[in-house]
Symmetry: none
DNA sequence: ACGCTTTGGC
DNA sequence: GCCAAAGCGT
């Protein structure tokens, strides 16, 4: 059987909130060694989501044999919203499960809430993703990236990201006008998460669909920083680190003729 | 060229937020002596808005020759929302401009956001408004007036304002019931902005469209107090003072047969 | 376009 | 913890 206990219900809640607008149904793969992993492609088949929650995400984690749990994220989200953020949260499944058991326990009060979520059979191909070398890597406060993505979407459906050795520029061109935000790297000793870091092998100039970036930044609450890895003409990686694991988004850039 | 730098982006942001729901397009008149002035009539041609931002509103102000900037306030609002309230904000236009450049600079970080907003040709007549004598003038906390305007709108489409020497009464009559708020003048030494002051030459009894009053009180954030000048059978003036300048609304009263 | 809900700032 | 502003949904 699977039994995973989160110290804070909020962790799983935020994870599901981060991806449920992109993906309706997906398989959670559970194993003893890997913890829980998910790979899913959004309904328009443009955005690939890779989640990894290692055993370290859990206060207790046990998985007797590998399981695939087919979940409706909308339904799971409804259930997760019923717990309080700092409840204990335990997810339980039998070895040949037809349902997922979700249990909240209030840390102080004698309150236990239990939910059974029906599982589904979901087709999915698991792609192997090479951890290739990137032209550049940018780490910045996730909230700052989220604001840029949201703001620029008001101007255009496309967001261009240009990285040079000493700056990253986000630019949008739309009918009402053009806009750009330029960030320069800096190290904030007092608040390291506020730092902006650019590691560059080669300058890049890529354009992405603003809609997908807005889906991606829903993960902002999961981590104070986000790391963006870009390579010319290749899918970009946006990574939010979990206490132990990650939530990664892979997004293909737009090409010139479709911008 | 025009170059105006605000110490706080929030000032222009609040001004635009205050008027953009009433007026979609309007001309900003820029000159060396007058600073930036706007006169606009709301889309239903009932409410007249007069804005004056003197050079004193700016940290730096330069205007080589008179300019008229035709702006879409909705678009400008989108751009202004992208800055942080205490960013520096600089607006720049060439002498024969086809666009307005809007630049935010974070005071601490190395962040610069630039936007180009396309300008438009907008017809507009500038009316001359006599600064006539009024029957009475009332100054009260802007938040208090805003609450009255909002609350009374739930009762009726019309709000009656009755002023006598020692009180101002706001009254609404509607199908669910009638309501009134009576304020008496008082001077608050500790918090002068909380004072209520009535200067009266002659009692007045006027009725206004509640909808327009609700548009007017969107300017509440601009000033802790509002001054209302009323004259029988003449447009009322609602004035919010800026650091250096003002935002004024002129609203014609309803007449008996249309109430 | 308005109201409600969620998120961020004080 | 409370209040205000921004974003989302109807």
């Amino acid at each position: 059987m699977l039994e995973g206990k989160f110290e804070q219900a909020s962790l799983l809640k935020k994870v599901i909130e981060s991806i449920k607008d992109s993906v309706k149904l997906c398989n959670f793969n559970c194993s003893a060694e890997q913890g829980i992993t998910v790979q899913a492609i959004d309904d328009s088949r443009v955005l690939l989501i890779a989640l990894k929650m290692d055993a370290g995400c859990f206060q207790e984690y046990r998985c007797d044999r590998d399981l695939v749990l087919g979940l409706d994220l909308e339904s799971l989200g409804k259930i997760l919203r019923q717990g309080n953020n700092d409840d204990y949260l335990t997810v339980i499944a039998e070895d040949t499960p037809d349902k997922l058991l979700v249990v909240f326990e209030d840390k102080k009060k004698d309150r236990i809430s239990e939910f059974e979520l029906k599982l589904m059979d979901i087709d999915s191909d698991v792609l192997s993703i090479d951890d290739m070398d990137n032209d550049c890597s940018i780490t910045l406060p996730s909230a700052e990236f989220a604001k840029i993505a949201r703001d620029m979407k008001t101007l255009s459906e496309s967001l261009q990201i240009l990285v040079t050795k000493d700056s990253v520029k986000f630019a949008a061109e739309g009918t009402i006008g053009n806009g750009s935000v330029i960030l320069k790297p800096h190290t904030d000793m007092d608040e390291p998460d506020e730092s902006i870091r650019i590691d560059l092998n080669q300058p890049v100039n890529l354009t992405f669909g603003a809609k997908y970036l807005n889906d991606i930044v829903k993960a902002t609450a999961l981590s104070p920083t986000v790391t963006i890895k870009l390579t010319d003409k290749a899918p970009a990686l946006f990574e939010y680190r979990l206490p132990s694991g990650y939530l990664r988004y892979y997004l293909a850039p737009k090409f010139e003729d479709e911008e």
